[in-house]
Assembly symmetry: C2
Homo-oligomer: 138 residues x 2
Amino acid sequence: MSDLLERLRGRGWRLTSQRRVVAEVLNGDHVHLTADEVHARAVQRLPEISRATVYNTLGELVTLGEVLEVSTDGRAKRYDPNAHHAHQHLICSGCGAIRDVHPQGDPIAALPATERFGFVISGAEVTYRGLCPDCARP
Amino acid sequence: MSDLLERLRGRGWRLTSQRRVVAEVLNGDHVHLTADEVHARAVQRLPEISRATVYNTLGELVTLGEVLEVSTDGRAKRYDPNAHHAHQHLICSGCGAIRDVHPQGDPIAALPATERFGFVISGAEVTYRGLCPDCARP
DNA sequence: GTATTGACTTAGACAAAGTCCAGGCTAGGA
DNA sequence: TCCTAGCCTGGACTTTGTCTAAGTCAATAC
Ligand SMILES: [Mn+2]
Ligand SMILES: [Mn+2]
Ligand SMILES: [Zn+2]
Ligand SMILES: [Zn+2]
């Protein structure tokens, strides 16, 4: 993750303790935290960090293409540090757990020209829903 | 749509003018209105209808399986009367226009067992993004 | 090391989307 | 026609996110 910080500094990003902490919180696999969850974890390390700064920093990371914004339900957006490997999401309807998944083939190819309404298509997001092993137990 | 109302009455739904108006507003193809848009249109026909009733009625229609809830971005949920024909959505990144589309094949089949993490998968939603003919013009 | 400065951070006000409640109203059955 | 369970209403409240004015500080220049 420190290579990320160096990369951003090279792009003229001022490296503050707040930004460093937000970047540290967003570290790992299958990480899809809401802004408030990021804030709660950031406060553990830097008690005075504000909500506004967390929102600002997340927004900047999204603009820079280093973090993805994922809207899986009508609730809070989730922030996903796995921005450099295309993937889709599998979500448990019971507990909300989210996993990164990699389906085969390109979903865009499955949309015939007659179903495109003249649109220029740029991407497709797939959300799989189901029950995780814990929630599926009788 | 009145067959819908009769069907619901058969299920013990009390048929009020408010519910009738909400059902009428949600009529047509490629209809994906937000709750506030439904309310604004309902008020044209029944000026005293409240926001709470629109939310309640939409929620009931979703529970009854007569309307789908679509969360395409982090904004307001959209309500889709096309609940009886499986379909996916194509959204213009420029103006937000939404079209119903029917891709070929089953997206669930594209997810190998090794990518399912032991989940029991129940469905998949695909959101295609692009630019509509108007927004793609130079 | 110190000064400078524009970018950054903060607290809190504000806004949009949605939920909840007490009290009044009414559709539909008796 | 009357009764009442279920429905509706206005408004308070919650969650999620945005904006702003004023204070702070990272990085550069000296
Ligand atoms: Mn992800
Ligand atoms: Mn639809
Ligand atoms: Zn689960
Ligand atoms: Zn458009």
